[in-house]
Structure formats: C-alpha cells, structure tokens
C-alpha cells in the first residue's frame, strides 16, 4: 500500500515538473554544417567551360589540317602550239607583307604547339618578322603562323601584332578538358610569355563578374589559411620589394596590380587556424568582426576581394577526420563563391614521416573539390616534395624559408618551399588577371 502511495507522489511531482530536460526531445545532431545552395553560377553550361582549362600534362590534340582538293571535271579543249617569247626585264622582289608581325623586342619563340610546353622552340623569330596567320586557338592566346621562308608553327599572341580580325581564323587546336586547372613552374621559359598558358574556367570568370557587380574589388585578394599563410611571410617579398623576378619579369604588372594585398594582414588567416576555425565566430577578431561573424565572412566583408587564396589542411589533418575536412572545405568554397569571390585552392606538402597517409587523403580532397567546382588549383605539393626536405621545416609542415629576405627567382624556388609557393601563387594571380580582363 505504501509503495502505491510513493508511486502516486512521484507521478504527481513528475506531472508538475514542466521544465524537465529529460522529458524534452533532443535536437537532431547535425554532424556538419549544411552548405548554402549556389546561386546563378550553377547554371553555367558545362559546354562553355570545355576549352579553357589546362594541365601541366600535354593532353592536347591537333585538329586535322584542312587540305582542300580540287577535282576537275569536263573536257579540256585542244591547245594551240605554244610560242616562247623572251622579254628582258628587271626583277623586283618586294619585301613580303603578312597579316601579322613580331613585336616582341627579343623576338618570339616559334613552337610546335600552342603552349610553352612545346619545348624546345623550333626557332626564334626576330623582331619585325612578317608572318601569315593560318590558325588560332579557341581562346586567341596562340596563333598558328607561316613565315615567308616556309617555317610553320605557333607563336604567343602578346608578342605579335595582328592586322586582321583574328576571329575569322580557323580554330586549329582545342585543348582536351582535364580539370582541375593547375599551375606549374616552367623553368624553360625565356621569351617573356607566361610559363603557364590557358585561362581559368568560364565558371570562375562568371563568379568573378558577379562579385564585381556586387562591389568586390578587382585588384584585391584575401589570404585564407593557418600559420603557414599568416605567420610565414607569404607573398610579403612582393610588398617589400625584396625580389628579383629574373626570367619571370612578365609578372611585374601583376605585382603592381595586386600590390596592396601582398602586404595586408588577413582576418581569415591566423596561427592554429583550421577549416572549422575559419567557419567559427569564436575565432574571429572581435575588434573588427561583428557578433556571430566568422573569420571568413569578416575578412570578405572588410576586404571585399575578388580572389581568395586558400591553403588549409596542414593543421586539420592533425585534428580531425578527412570527412569532416571535406565538409568544412566545401562550406568554405561555397561561401566564397556565393559572395562572388574566386576560391583558389592550394595543396600542401609535408614530411613523409608526419601524417603522410592523412596528407595524401586531405590533398586529394582539395584537388577533388577544385575539379568538381571548376575553380583554380595551385599544385604546390608535388613540386615542393621534390625540394630538399620536401620543402618543409623540421616541424614537418611549415614551408622552408631562405635565410635572406631577398628572393631571387629562377633559383630560390628550387631550394625552399616558401619562394616556390610565392611564385606559384603569383603565377596564378597573373593567370586570373589575364583571364578576366
């Protein structure tokens, strides 16, 4: 009887207890934040994107050359007996005039294909050499030409003057689409043409244009990353004028164009940052950022960039799973794109005895996202692994740096990881600048 009374009392108390957390249904546990849906850029036709990607591997194929053949039909009339008349004359041979000519001060390299990958060059055509244009690439960056002494090949468009409407020329070369686009260092380049040819994808250009319409700054980029980006003097040599471009002198206009960004301290790059931290307001600089604003959104709001140079993963692979990393990186990329900013992903190197398996997996995720989203990718890892110590310090993931603060290209990028990253990033900025102009 007493037990029944006890039960009764308990039931009465329980029914009176309205705020018991045990009686509430737990909220659903979301493992990863849901990516925001993409706006207009999703509608870009894949067909438009086909011709404008490139890789360091030559996967191009020439189109079949047009070889028109004439067929004579009918019956020829009988001919009269020929009469030979000798007439003395003075032969005058005028200087041949083509529909283009070389304007590069040092001439231009004639190559067997429309890329600096076609090395060595067939010949060096001198300044003011007259040319006949016979074809072009679909992006008008390269022309197939013939010289008046019978040489044929491809020349880079910036180094010649074209006297006709080039769009009437036949497209004689189409690059096989092989995303993602990759920047490589081409040490053979000497004639002033870019060491990487091609452009960013049409989708990236579309993202950029949407951003410009929304007020993003065309000559501003943001850095997003961990201590490799924030604490190491990434790109600072260009701001401090502590560099010698050597054979990469053609990159100087790009340094001038983005100059202020090279020296700016990013709100989305900091020591110990990881992909989750970039998306978490608790990591934001409270002196600048608004309540509940993530470091990423804060940086984009304050800086209004058109490009984001993103390198994350070195810290992440030490903290959490590849699946979580992929989720956060997807969110970062989608958030960047939705604000009209081109996300430029960068792979990262490390020592083989330091989270090697994770690093391979995490870098594959970076490449996969870049390929899927058709956004630019800086392939730092592969060339860095060929450097002494894999291009990383004794801590096994921060990039090696030169002792001196003066960087000399065509040399230092073969010794240390940071100059290599500086050069590759500068090349990518140059490619974007040329592509969107």
């Amino acid at each position: 009887m007493l037990l029944r009374i006890i039960f009764g009392i308990i039931l009465i108390i329980l029914s009176a207890c309205q705020n018991s957390p045990q009686l509430t249904v737990l909220p659903t546990l979301a493992v990863l934040p849901t990516a925001a849906p993409l706006p207009v850029v999703n509608t870009v036709s894949r067909a438009i994107n086909l011709p404008v990607t490139w890789t360091p591997t030559d996967t191009s194929t020439p189109l079949p050359t047009d070889t028109p053949t004439a067929t004579v039909t009918g019956t020829l009339p009988p001919t009269a007996t020929p009469t030979i008349t000798l007439t003395p004359s003075i032969t005058f041979t005028p200087t041949p005039m083509g529909n283009a000519r070389v304007i590069g001060e040092n001439g231009v390299n004639l190559r067997s294909g429309p890329s600096t990958r076609f090395t060595p060059a067939l010949a060096l055509l001198e300044h003011h050499t007259e040319l006949m244009l016979v074809g072009r690439t679909n992006d008008l960056l390269w022309y197939e030409i013939q010289t008046f002494d019978g040489r044929v090949g491809w020349v880079y468009s910036d180094l010649i003057e074209v006297r006709i409407d080039p769009t009437v020329l036949t497209v004689r070369w189409i690059d096989t689409p092989t995303p993602p686009p990759v920047v490589v260092v081409d040490v053979t380049e000497v004639d002033g043409a870019p060491p990487v040819d091609g452009k960013i994808s049409q989708r990236a250009i579309q993202i950029y244009r949407q951003g410009i319409q929304r007020g993003n700054s065309p000559n501003v980029f943001s850095k997003v990353g961990d201590s490799i980006t924030a604490n190491q003097p990434f790109l600072r040599v260009f701001y401090n004028h502590k560099y010698d471009l050597a054979s990469y002198a053609y990159l100087q206009p790009t340094i001038d164009y983005y100059y202020e960004s090279f020296g700016r301290k990013s709100l989305a790059a900091s020591s110990a940052f990881n992909a989750a931290a970039v998306l978490s307001s608790i990591w934001a600089d409270t002196s600048v950022c608004q309540p509940n604003e993530t470091p990423l959104d804060c940086e984009y709001r304050v800086n209004r960039p058109s490009i984001a140079i993103i390198m994350l993963g070195s810290v992440d692979m030490q903290l959490y799973s590849a699946a979580e990393f992929e989720g956060y990186m997807n969110t970062i990329v989608q958030s960047t794109i939705s604000q009209g900013i081109i996300p430029v992903r960068t792979t990262f190197p490390n020592r083989q005895d330091f989270h090697w398996y994770e690093s391979v997996e995490f870098n594959d995720i970076i490449r996969r996202i870049a390929g899927r989203e058709q956004i630019p990718l800086i392939e730092l890892r592969d060339p860095a692994l060929a450097l002494p110590d894999n291009g990383v310090k004794e801590d096994k993931y921060h990039l090696t740096e030169k002792d001196s603060d003066q960087i000399v290209f065509n040399s230092d990028e073969y010794q240390w990881g940071l100059p290599l990253r500086d050069l590759l990033t500068l090349q990518m900025l140059d490619t974007i600048r040329r592509s969107v102009r």
Partner: protein, 123 residues
C-alpha cells in the same frame, strides 16, 4: 522505515531531474562542452539555429588542448527576446609554444523546448 527512506530518495531524485540550468549556467556548460568536444551535450545546450555553429566550434578546438581560464558568467538583462549573459574569462590554446586566447564576451540565451539554450553572441 525503509519505505519512508525510499520515498524521500525518490522525491529527491525527481526534484533533481526537474531542476533546469539558469542562462548563465547554460553558457558555462556550453563552453565546457566546446573544449571537451561533446557534440551531444552541445546539441542539448544550443538553440536549433545555433547548433551547427556550436558543433563547428567544438571541432575547431578538437585535439588542441584547449582550456577554460577564469570563466564566470552571469545574467545581464534582456535584448530582443533573448536573455543576455555576460562572461569573464577566456579559452586558451597553446599552439607551437605560443599561447592563443579567445576572450569570452556576451551571449544570447533563449528558452527552447522548456530549457534555456545558448543561441549565439550578443552585440
């Protein structure tokens, strides 16, 4: 006598279960769950709109050896339907021998499903 003791114990148990955490206690528990990387606890302590952010924050501190230094929170009025909680103290992370601190500030707490829930930072 034993039955009376059982009755008292049962009443105490039920009363303990009934007790809800105050807004300040919720915020303190929230940050403890952040540095302890306890996703289920964070789900209990966060409002629905803030849940994903809470989980991201917890992941960002995972395996970093983060600690709470001098945390003390108290209710500090209301704003736009939220209970405001003001906190002192900081989250501390030591990364490569360098200390990095995240000061605790003001937070919004809202009642959802009959319990107070952390719902983001207040201005």
């Amino acid at each position: 006598m034993i039955k009376i003791l059982l009755l008292i114990c049962a009443c105490l148990f039920v009363l303990t279960a009934c007790a809800t955490e105050s807004p300040a206690q919720v915020v303190e528990a929230y940050f403890q769950a952040i540095i302890d990387d306890q996703p289920e606890r964070l789900a209990e302590l966060s409002c629905a709109a803030w849940e994903a952010d809470a989980l991201t924050a917890a992941t960002s501190f995972r395996n970093t050896g983060a600690t709470l230094d001098g945390m003390q929170c108290e209710a500090n009025g209301e704003e736009a339907g939220y209970q405001i909680v003001q906190c002192q103290g900081r989250i501390v992370v030591v990364y490569q021998g360098e200390e990095r601190a995240f000061p605790l500030t003001r937070y919004r707490v809202i009642q959802e499903n009959n319990a107070w829930r952390m719902c983001g930072e207040a201005g």
